[in-house]
């Protein structure tokens, strides 16, 4: 099939994206268990960050390579060839690349719209209570369900059902709000949005469910840690609140909604783990944990800087152009 310059460039970009994203995605998938095991040895916050960036890695690498190597090298070395034949393999990969993005964007939009609808309903039907600390709005919803959540990204608010508000003691509520505030401070809803829009390995196979579940688990644990840091009293209150909430869920049956489009956390296992950490924080994984945040940051910075320098070098761009020509034909 012959294509003019711009459709050709577009096809090449999508095909390269698909190829790199799939390869990097498979590599991450193979290393997934080891990465999660490594995360277990870190503080919950550092573990959550490691898993979040690992999840971003395949698509992020593919976007960086396409934007800083493939497209510039093609523009620079292609010359004025108006029409050129493009192989079906390249076209197929471009189509798959486009599909991967289309599915990801559609999924992200669906989740964002669903969440916006939920936030709107809560705002419209909830009773606002002003809180002394940020996020300063708490919406009380009249419903027999028991739930407490941090909703929204730009204008976050805490949503609580009337039932839970009456069930929780003052200490439990304070501890639970501390937990939600920790989610707000670490921008977890924003991260959920990013995860919702991230493309999977193949158009209809995301392939990172385990990683996303683990991220969600460590994000919860990190928010628990913020309450643990306040002392054993608040930690005990949070544990009580968690079990009380779980008891309500258990009597009402499985709650059908789950955050962030993620799969179920395997709830009971992690509930047990979380309560264990809250009751005996010293014996929990915090004691043996090491915070390698700075090391991780330094390594990622070094890798990105080296990658960008390498990709900008003319020799590599010429090599890249050769590879692209092969891919094209």
């Amino acid at each position: 099939m012959t294509l003019t310059y711009w459709p050709r460039l577009l096809s090449l970009c999508f095909a390269s994206f698909f190829l790199i994203n799939a390869l990097a995605g498979l590599a991450v998938r193979i290393a997934e268990r080891r990465i999660i095991r490594l995360a277990e040895g870190m503080t919950a916050g550092a573990a959550a960050r490691l898993l979040f960036w690992t999840r971003i890695l395949p698509a992020g690498t593919a976007v960086i390579v396409v934007a800083f190597a493939c497209a510039p090298s093609y523009v620079r070395f292609e010359g004025d060839i108006a029409i050129e034949r493009v192989g079906f393999a390249c076209l197929g990969m471009a189509l798959l690349g486009g599909l991967v993005w289309a599915v990801a964007v559609a999924r992200g939009l669906r989740i964002a719209a669903h969440s916006a609808g939920f936030a709107y309903l809560c705002r419209r039907n909830g009773c606002v209570i002003r809180l002394p600390e940020r996020p300063s709005r708490m919406l009380v919803i009249q419903t027999p369900r028991a739930f407490l959540a941090l909703s929204g990204i730009l204008r976050p608010c805490i949503v609580i059902s009337q039932r839970l508000l009456s069930d929780f003691s003052g200490g439990e509520l304070k501890a639970a709000l501390g937990h939600e505030r920790a989610h707000w401070r670490s921008h977890d809803n924003g991260k959920r949005l990013v995860l919702a829009f991230l493309p999977g390995t193949l158009p209809f196979w995301r392939g990172f469910e385990r990683l996303e579940r683990s991220w969600s688990k460590f994000a919860e644990r990190a928010a628990d840690d913020a309450v643990i840091a306040e002392g054993p009293g608040p930690a005990l209150s949070l544990a009580t609140a968690l079990v009380r909430l779980a008891r309500t869920h258990a009597t009402m049956g499985r709650a059908p909604w789950l955050p962030g489009g993620a799969s179920p956390l395997g709830g009971s296992d992690d509930l047990s783990g979380r309560v264990g950490r809250l009751l005996a924080p010293a014996a929990g994984d915090n004691a043996k944990a090491f915070d390698c945040d700075r090391v991780l940051l330094a390594i990622s910075g070094f890798v990105v800087a080296s990658l960008l320098t390498l990709l900008a070098s003319p020799a590599l761009q010429q090599l890249m152009h050769g590879l692209l020509e092969r891919l094209l034909h």
Binding site: F118, L242, R247
Partner: protein, 146 residues
């Protein structure tokens, strides 16, 4: 003679249905006026409508379980089953429940909830956790006293 037709109360389980604009206006009139005949409502409408349209709307609201009615002579007299506050309350409850129960598979929400789903099979585990909490509370209160 008053003939009560109270199917409304038994029918009124989940008021999560959205009212159309005409239905909402008719409900507004009934909440303002209380018991009203078709003619009363017809006269209170702020836009020109056929008498039969108002009659049909009232009948539809009755069938939806939002109104109750009785007959005086040949005419029906309608009144709302719930007052406005009760209606708003139940509607909000119904809407949010319907939203959270959403179609399967769950599309997910961008919210950080305190706890994710837990099944009924975990009741034994919950009892065990509650025991642990009680023990820990005793320990802490013992430390506090000493």
């Amino acid at each position: 003679m008053k003939l009560f037709c109270r199917r409304a109360a038994t029918n009124f389980a989940t008021p999560n249905q959205i009212l159309g604009s005409l239905e909402a206006r008719v409900m507004d009139v009934l909440w303002e006026r209380g018991e009203s005949s078709v003619r009363d409502v017809f006269e209170k409408m702020d836009r020109p409508l056929a008498y039969t349209t108002v009659m049909t709307t009232l009948d539809r609201l009755f069938k939806k379980g939002l109104l109750e009615r009785y007959k005086i002579g040949r005419a029906f007299v309608y009144s709302p089953v719930l007052n406005r506050e009760e209606w708003e309350y139940r509607r909000a409850e119904g809407l949010i429940a319907a939203f959270l129960d959403g179609p399967q598979p769950s599309p997910g929400l961008l919210v950080s909830s305190l706890l994710d789903a837990i099944g009924q099979e975990d009741v034994a585990l919950l009892s065990e956790l509650e025991q642990k909490i009680r023990r820990r509370r005793k320990e802490l209160s013992g430390k506090g006293r000493s």
